[in-house]
Symmetry: C2
Subunit: 144 residues, 2 copies
């Protein structure tokens, strides 16, 4: 039975630090191209659910055990990843404790979502959607 | 730059017939394995957004021009598709007029969501989630 080629699938996690004032979020500085600041995440392995994948990637890059809160949205613009068409569901998660950069994260910092640095991929769009969620409760916008 | 193998990605549409009493939904009888009744949908092409893909697949299988309402959820259990691990975002859509089966749909019928036939894949779970949405407004459940 033939299966057609489809876009790659990755997952990202906006991790809120629940034990810090203002609930800042964790951003990483990427070790691999494309370089720059980004929301933690990575490719989904064949055989794992999205929920397992995003908790694994969050742990690998930030050393945090995260609790998933909800799905923010799915990002699928063919031009959003210079490495090739990648579809990325983005989850909102929370964590406690001390994040430490590892794996594809060369470093990490906590940011107020209104004061993020310039971001790789379409992560500025994702952060805008996240601010909409945080201020107005809006989730999973569709895009045409 | 290497890109790892990731699950295949497909999209499905729960299409509500907005001009019929009780807003019945469209199910198709699949022409290709796995056979049986199913929610319309299919694999995403490289280079198209999920929103474009689900409107294309709905049109190909039901001949309807659908309007997307919202994302119901994303289904990613590795065992959900006997052809191999497939991640499927499911959208809720609405349409007017007369559906006609085409492409991978050998036939189609309209159903009250509470009285669907046995369904292929994990589509019974998806219909249960859809009933939760329709009766209680709940969207995008996470699964662990």
């Amino acid at each position: 039975m033939t299966r057609p080629a489809t876009p790659a699938i990755a997952v990202d996690a906006i991790i809120e630090m629940a034990d810090r004032p203002g609930r800042p979020i964790v951003l990483i500085e990427r070790r691999n191209p494309p370089h720059g600041w980004a929301i933690p995440g990575g490719f989904v392995d064949v055989g794992e659910t999205l929920e397992a994948a995003v908790m694994r990637e969050a742990k690998e890059e930030t050393s945090l055990d995260v609790t998933l809160k909800c799905l923010l949205g799915i990002y699928s613009d063919p031009a959003r990843d210079p490495r090739g068409h990648t579809v990325t569901p983005v989850y909102i998660a929370e964590a406690h404790g001390e994040p430490r950069a590892a794996d594809d994260a060369a470093s990490l910092e906590l940011f107020d979502p209104h004061n993020c640095p310039a971001l790789a991929f379409d992560h500025d769009v994702i952060i805008s959607d996240y601010i909409e969620y945080r201020e107005r409760g809006r989730l999973t916008p569709l895009r045409f």
